[in-house]
């Protein structure tokens, strides 16, 4: 019955790798847990080596020079950051391998970064990976499916402001 109303854009975000989805509030870094960077969710990765893949169709805006985080814009214009581990900027790239360059067009599932989780653990860094929507003005509602998920499964549905 709402068919003729202005359409709200909803975007489905896929799991970038296998893991357990937890609330962003449980991330042990207040920059994320207090949503300073934006609202979202976090993933506890499974396994030793991680291939971070694109959670959506869109564009790779940025891979940070230390390769520990990627900025992605969906085809609808929704911006997000995938930040692998906590405080991992201080590893200065160790343990991270870039698989895709900034500016690339992405299809959900495209590999972006390979991560040796053992390197993070060896330096005492948490491997929990926040996925946050950085433009607060874009997000109207966020629905997250918590728990264990496989790469490519839908983890979050974002309703964008019109």
């Amino acid at each position: 019955m709402f068919k003729f109303r202005k359409k709200e854009k909803t975007i489905q975000i896929k799991m970038p790798f296998d893991g357990v989805v937890i609330p962003i509030e449980e991330v042990p870094d207040e920059v994320f847990s207090k949503k300073m960077v934006g609202d979202g969710f976090a993933i506890l990765p499974s396994g030793d080596t991680l291939t971070v893949t694109s959670p959506c169709d869109g564009t790779l805006i940025q891979i940070f020079k230390t390769n520990h985080a990627a900025g992605i814009c969906t085809n609808e214009g929704l911006e997000m950051i995938i930040h692998v581990g906590i405080d991992t900027v201080n590893l200065k790239g160790e343990g991270f391998t870039r698989l895709m360059e900034a500016g690339s067009k992405l299809v959900a599932g495209d590999p972006l970064i390979e991560v040796a989780l053992s390197t993070l653990t060896a330096y005492g860094k948490a491997t929990v990976t926040p996925v946050v929507f950085t433009e607060k003005a874009q997000v109207k509602a966020l629905e997250v499916a918590f728990g264990e998920k496989k790469a490519g499964e839908t983890v979050c549905t974002v309703t964008m402001k019109g």
Binding site: G71, I81, V89
Partner: protein, 79 residues
């Protein structure tokens, strides 16, 4: 106003979030220039993509001098 970044990890997630929070309080556009490129001080993605590191000289630009002062004050508190 020019400013030299002093904190060890540069303008990464935490500092960028703080700068954006400060900048958002003002209506005026605020940009941070590094090496000739301008980045939007109200966008975390934009600021983080600037990869501003320790020792970098940046310039904070806005028509609102209070906004510039607030962003500089925010940058000064970073450790």
């Amino acid at each position: 106003m020019k400013f030299t970044i002093q904190n060890e990890t540069g303008l990464h997630a935490r500092p960028a979030a703080l700068v954006v929070e400060t900048a958002m309080a003002f209506d005026a556009a605020i940009s941070i220039k590094k090496a000739g490129n301008a980045y939007n001080a109200k966008s975390i993605m934009s600021l983080m993509s600037a990869a501003i590191s320790k020792g970098d000289e940046i310039e904070i630009c806005s028509d609102d001098s209070k906004a510039v002062a607030a962003v500089v004050a925010c940058l000064e508190t970073l450790v």
